[in-house]
Symmetry: C2
Subunit: 224 residues, 2 copies
């Protein structure tokens, strides 16, 4: 049975969050949980949760709820946390180095095997277990090690060109921190854009509405 | 006229992206753009764009399209990019320092005025224009400088307690990088959670589906 051939993006987007919450429950020693309890913790409706998890065949039992450990393992398998996808990171500036440490410390599924930068001052520097290499070495590295994923922490001007080159070298997935929407033009390539600037502006918007509500300025934007 | 008292979250979420695209168009010297052209660039439908921008009173003219500069300025005002919300960052580890540099380099609206950590080895270190202070100094700092936003780059175990304390000190908005959903329990506080781990797992899922499609393993998860 093909369980997840036609799962909507919105369900997929929620899976990592289910995985995270179930991991926390497991740590707390919780063995089973009802969809109602889980829904209260996750701020979703119980029917939403049942619907989401049914997409994968449904793991719950009427009157018993979900077995935390089992459900977490199943979602982990669907997500691929037991896999080891070779991953390279391009752009070892402040953000790049922080993300590099984050990947191998905190995540599963993608394993960082190479870090690259154009800056000779950074090349040779150690980040965790890896030494930063020059971007000129990327082709040789990819031919030898066949990474499937690339993390891009480079200026947006450079993003499209590097991404194009990496696709030729066999990269199938991009985790993109450049301020650039990389989805454009690639149909078979997986792209996860992280726009930190957009995220902060969403917060700024909230503060703007909140403080304008004091009536001090910008009456146009008072919430009614 | 109250233009944005009842704007849906999904529209608000798209505003920073409009702002970013319009900024790129401006840089490229584009003076005006039709909703159709903008929709092609942004991978939204033209009617979606017209609908979104109508929420704010509508800036387009039939047969002329949108004036790039004017529309960008208007959206910027709505977002609050012309404001300077005092912002503090807690947790000056690798990610925290990278985010700190990112905020003042790349964004507007929120201005970083203080960086704090519990680690004595980090206290006193310079990050951009700011010196890392000890978290013990937060109450005094807040009393003097009245920051409104806090960036949290701390372990999830510490997040709730620090957030509670910061709310008492007048913080109204959190940009949260801890692996913890902070929304819970605060109704009047703005929270923007950035879950890097969830984002990477979404990519891992994509790779898992893609590579399982080779028929090598996990036939259950082949897309049909």
């Amino acid at each position: 049975m093909s369980k997840n051939g036609s799962i909507s993006n919105s369900v997929i987007k929620r899976l990592p969050r289910y995985y995270r919450f179930l991991g926390e429950l497991k740590k707390q020693g919780v063995e089973r949980i009802s969809s109602r309890e889980l829904s209260q913790r996750m701020k979703l409706t119980a029917s939403q949760i049942r619907q989401d998890l049914n997409c994968f065949g449904g793991f719950g039992q009427q009157g018993y709820g979900y077995h935390v450990d089992e459900l977490r393992d199943e979602i982990g398998k669907i997500l691929g946390v037991d896999r080891e996808f070779g991953t390279i990171l391009i752009g070892a500036g402040n953000l790049g180095r922080a993300i590099a440490r984050h990947i191998n410390f905190d995540t599963r599924g993608c394993k960082l095997i190479g870090i690259f930068d154009v800056d000779d001052q950074l090349v040779g520097r150690q980040v965790g277990d890896l030494q930063i290499r020059h971007t000129d070495d990327i082709p040789e590295f990819c031919a030898e090690n066949h990474p499937l994923a690339a993390v891009l922490c480079i200026p947006k001007e450079a993003t499209q060109k590097i991404a194009d080159t990496l696709v030729v070298m066999g990269i199938k997935a991009f985790w993109n921190f450049s301020h650039y929407d990389l989805s454009i033009g690639y149909d078979d390539i997986i792209v996860e854009n992280v726009h930190l600037g957009d995220s902060l502006l969403t917060l700024t918007y909230g503060l703007n509405v909140l403080t304008s509500g004091d009536g001090e300025e910008d009456d146009d934007y008072v919430e009614e």
